[in-house]
């Protein structure tokens, strides 16, 4: 048996994660496997005849496609000749513009770019990402799914996601047959939440394209690429079929990006001994070669595989950077949950979060973990407040904003009712009022027992069989009285005709303006340049719903206002050896009535008095009006006491026992952690003060121990309380005797 320290450490959540011994033969290493080729490129008469260690006759289908379509041969000789370290420095150097990097990287083979980026340290990756991402304005994508494919809940949650600022919403299905219903419900919900929210439904490639063609979704992302030919074929595609698919989407005016991610090949047993990063370099080169505008990568479904090897988290971030340098939209992973540890998953996301990307999460689970049909995300509904506070902490735009509770309720109602009405109008389904009400209020599908699992299946079948298109949905919305939403749905169809959102890294603002590489190009070139939130946006970032001011605290205290503590006259000197003074702070009973533990100050005083009485002493209440310092309050009170002993009490609940011959900061006993002091402990402090008065030495009262972040919880309140105390204290304020009456008086 190991020692207790290790038994204890073994129980920590990080030890639920799997950690792999590096094994190049299995592809279980992040960077630089012995099997990774040395970068090289031979061009003969405008044709690539050798690339990354292979002659043209040995090219597999991935090599062949990249060699034929993926490289700018005009710049290749120049780019391949530059030293890797020199290139790495250019990538980080704010003086080298993004456009120059993009120009050079276009001529680099996968192995070359992998070697260059493997050299960047984490802090350098942050700078490089800040500079290299395509779009100036960062954004974020949400997952909206649930266990029952409940259309009402999907719509309410899509509207909620839009209210929190997500500009792309991705849904998927636990039951493939429900897909069309999910696409319609999420599109309606997103339109209720905000104009211009892009919607996708992740399913098998052909079905996803079909839904896109019918207008049921406004972008696509589930177009997977792999870094070895074998795994590519196992995925039932080739570079040519994927290139065709990419054009098929564009031919209907639909935005799409591809998906890849380090570790996928190792997970599927086909890494061919290569490093995750090199194989991902092939995927990203191929993405550019087939003409995709963007890539979702950074582990993705294999994030936990990449995370299991040394440097794996760094390699996932470097994958994203590779996409940016290939001049593509980067949707930067942080979706599949890669650790059981809160610390580790935060650590994995954080550098990307502070750098900012086109979509920081390629699926922030805006619903609860259990409802995420992709599997739990790295970030989930459980973490939205954390994420908002992290934005505020760092003053950065992570794409989200605080949503008002009343507004979210209104949106959820409208979204659920819109789906109910449209489904009825189109003859797809009927929903009970009970179901609607449950979906509006639900924090997750477990809160919707009224949901009927057959409804989405039937609705989806009818949508496909009767060939309902998004135009039909727009018309139904309009005819059911949802004119605004009809217009928003139509606006997304109009956007297909315009085609501007096909360009790299396109999102829509709430005014339906396209932000992309073309209209909102990243211009970071060092401090003072690049994206800066507008003052209005910064205010959104800074203003979390949990923030409190002094005035908020004053109002909270006023709700417990009491006049039981009243002034009877100036304080007098006591002479009775059993006379113990309870010195209270200046705001006590005037502006403040409740301690940090939530006890009324009057109750605290009663406990102290009762404790003194148990010891045969008499408590006398004196308000000390010339200081806010508890040591001085206690000392001044002790000097007035016949016994020379006093209890000092601040309105916030901090208390001590003082004696007249001590210095202010010395004291006999102290409760310094006011939020944890109970009624019983105040009684004990009264008893001990009485014993001190009688000349004995009691066992000191102790602060109850807590491992909670007491300071984080209460320090902002303390500042407000101290501010109020200071306003009540006067330099020449005379002490006054108080009495605590049994009842509130009418005056």
């Amino acid at each position: 048996m190991t020692v207790g320290r290790f038994r204890f450490m073994d129980q920590q959540r990080v030890n639920l994660d799997g950690f792999a011994v590096e094994d190049a033969s299995l592809g279980l290493l992040a960077f630089n496997s012995p099997a990774d080729p040395e970068p090289d490129l031979l061009i003969v008469e405008g044709r690539v005849t050798r690339m990354d260690g292979r002659d043209e006759s040995d090219f597999d289908s991935i090599d062949a496609f990249i060699a034929a379509h993926g490289l700018d041969l005009g710049v290749a000789r120049e780019a391949m000749a530059i030293d890797n370290t020199a290139l790495a420095r250019m990538i980080v150097d704010p003086g080298v513009p993004r456009s120059e990097l993009v120009r050079l990287v276009a001529g680099m083979t996968p192995a070359k770019l992998a070697r260059v980026l493997a050299a960047l340290r984490p802090a350098e990756l942050v700078i490089a990402m800040t500079k290299a991402r395509a779009r100036r304005t960062p954004s974020n994508q949400a997952h909206v799914t649930n266990r029952s494919d409940d259309p009402l809940l999907l719509a309410a949650d899509a509207a909620t996601a839009a209210a929190f600022g997500f500009r792309e919403v991705e849904t998927t299905v636990p039951v493939l047959g429900d897909a069309a219903s999910n696409a319609v419900a999420v599109s309606i919900g997103a339109a209720v939440g905000s104009p211009g929210v892009l919607v996708q439904c992740s399913v098998e490639e052909a079905l996803e394209l079909e839904m896109g063609m019918r207008g049921l979704v406004s972008y696509a992302e589930t177009v997977s690429l792999y870094g070895t030919e074998q795994i590519f074929i196992d995925g039932d595609d080739t570079p040519w079929s994927k290139a065709f698919l990419t054009s098929a989407y564009a031919s209907r005016g639909i935005k799409m990006r591809v998906t890849s991610g380090g570790g996928a090949e190792a997970l599927m047993g086909g890494a061919e001994g290569c490093s995750m990063f090199y194989l991902e370099a092939r995927c990203v080169s191929l993405a550019r070669a087939i003409g995709a505008q963007g890539v979702q990568n950074g582990g993705i479904d294999s994030a936990s595989v990449a995370g299991s090897v040394p440097g794996g988290v760094r390699s996932m971030m470097a994958e994203n950077l590779m996409v940016m340098l290939r001049n593509l939209e980067a949707c930067t992973g942080n979706d599949a949950l890669m650790s059981e540890s809160e610390v580790r998953r935060t650590s994995r996301t954080h550098p990307i979060f502070i750098a900012g990307t086109d979509f920081i999460c390629s699926g922030f689970g805006s619903i609860q973990r259990y409802d995420n049909m992709f599997g739990p995300s790295q970030w989930n509904a459980e973490d939205i407040d954390d994420y908002l506070v992290m934005q505020r902490d760092w003053g950065i735009d992570g794409g989200l904003k605080t949503a008002d509770a009343n507004e979210v309720e209104r949106l959820r109602r409208r979204a659920a009712e819109a789906v109910r009405d449209v489904y009825r109008h189109l003859g797809l389904a009927e929903f009970s009022d009970e179901w609607v009400e449950q979906a509006i209020d639900a924090a997750g599908s477990k809160d919707v027992p009224a949901a009927d699992l057959m409804v989405p299946l039937t609705a989806a079948r009818l949508i496909r069989d009767t060939e309902i298109t998004m135009l039909d949905v727009a018309r139904a919305l309009d005819e059911c009285g949802y004119e605004q939403e009809a217009e928003r749905v139509l606006a997304m169809l109009r956007a297909r005709v315009e085609g501007d959102y096909l360009q790299t890294a396109a999102i829509f603002t709430e005014d339906m303006q396209v932000l992309s590489l073309i209209t909102d190009a990243n211009d970071y070139a060092g401090p003072g340049t690049g994206y800066q939130p507008t003052p209005a946006r910064q205010h959104e970032i800074d203003t979390v719903r949990q923030q409190r001011s002094v005035e908020d605290l004053r109002a909270e205290q006023a709700r417990s206002r009491s006049n039981r503590l009243r002034v009877v006259g100036p304080a007098t000197q006591g002479h009775d050896p059993r006379d113990v003074v309870i010195g209270v702070s200046a705001a006590t009973g005037r502006e403040l009535w409740v301690t940090l533990s939530g006890l009324p100050v009057n109750d605290v005083i009663e406990e102290l008095m009762a404790g003194l009485e148990e010891e045969g002493c008499t408590g006398r209440i004196v308000r000390i009006n010339d200081t806010i310092d508890l040591g001085r309050i206690g000392l001044e009170a002790a000097r007035l006491a016949g016994s020379g002993i006093a209890i000092g009490l601040q309105a916030k609940g901090t208390a001590l026992i003082h004696r007249r011959d001590l210095t202010p900061l010395a004291n006999l006993e102290l409760y310094s952690v006011a939020p944890t002091v109970t009624r019983e402990l105040y009684r004990q402090l009264g008893i001990n003060a009485g014993r001190h008065a009688k000349g004995s030495t009691p066992e000191p009262a102790r602060n109850p121990y807590s491992d909670e972040a007491i300071e984080a919880r209460y320090h902002t309140k303390v500042i407000s309380l101290v501010t109020i105390e200071r306003a009540c204290a006067q330099v020449d304020g005379e002490p006054e005797t108080l009495e605590l009456t049994a009842m509130e008086s009418d005056s």
């Binding site: 597999d60 289908s61 062949a64 496609f65 034929a68 379509h69 993926g70 700018d72 993009v102 276009a106 052909a206 394209l209 079909e210 063609m213 207008g215 030919e229 074929i233 595609d237 080739t238 040519w240 079929s241 290139a243 065709f244 698919l245 990419t246 054009s247 098929a248 564009a250 031919s251 209907r252 005016g253 550019r288 070669a289 087939i290 003409g291 995709a292 505008q293 001049n327 593509l328 998004m470 135009l471 727009a474 018309r475 309009d478 004119e483 009809a486 217009e487 139509l490 169809l493 109009r494 297909r496 005709v497 315009e498 085609g499 096909l502 360009q503 790299t504 590489l517 073309i518 190009a521």
Partner: protein, 118 residues
């Protein structure tokens, strides 16, 4: 002014038109000229591959959905013989979809060498 594939002007894709049942699917489909315009924009932004994609897309924009889906299916591994792919290429070529035809021919050759044919 951007036009839809049907010829309808972008500004005429309105709720009013929808209410008059004047909008059909071709009124919300992209016009090949628009894709050519986007190709030029992508070229200007340093991405000739994206431009090539938009140009292939322009060629496909007039094909029916079912045919597009069928060609995609034919290109998946093990679905087609070389002759099948070349026949599709010829058919596309005849309709002016030369870039897509070239893509199909290239696929036929590589699939042959890499064992990806039916």
């Amino acid at each position: 002014m951007t036009r839809a594939r049907s010829g309808r002007e972008r500004d005429d894709i309105t709720l009013g038109a929808l209410r008059e049942s004047a909008l059909g699917n071709d009124d919300v489909r992209i016009h090949p000229e628009t894709l050519e315009h986007q190709a030029q924009v992508a070229e200007g932004a340093g991405n000739p591959q994206l431009a090539a994609n938009f140009r292939r897309a322009a060629e496909l924009s007039d094909l029916p959905d079912a045919e597009v889906l069928a060609i995609y299916e034919a290109l998946r591994p093990g679905r087609s013989s070389a002759a099948d792919l070349l026949a599709i290429a010829d058919s596309l070529q005849q309709r002016g979809a030369t870039m897509n035809a070239a893509l199909l021919r290239e696929a036929a050759a590589i699939y042959e060498r890499r064992g990806l044919l039916q």
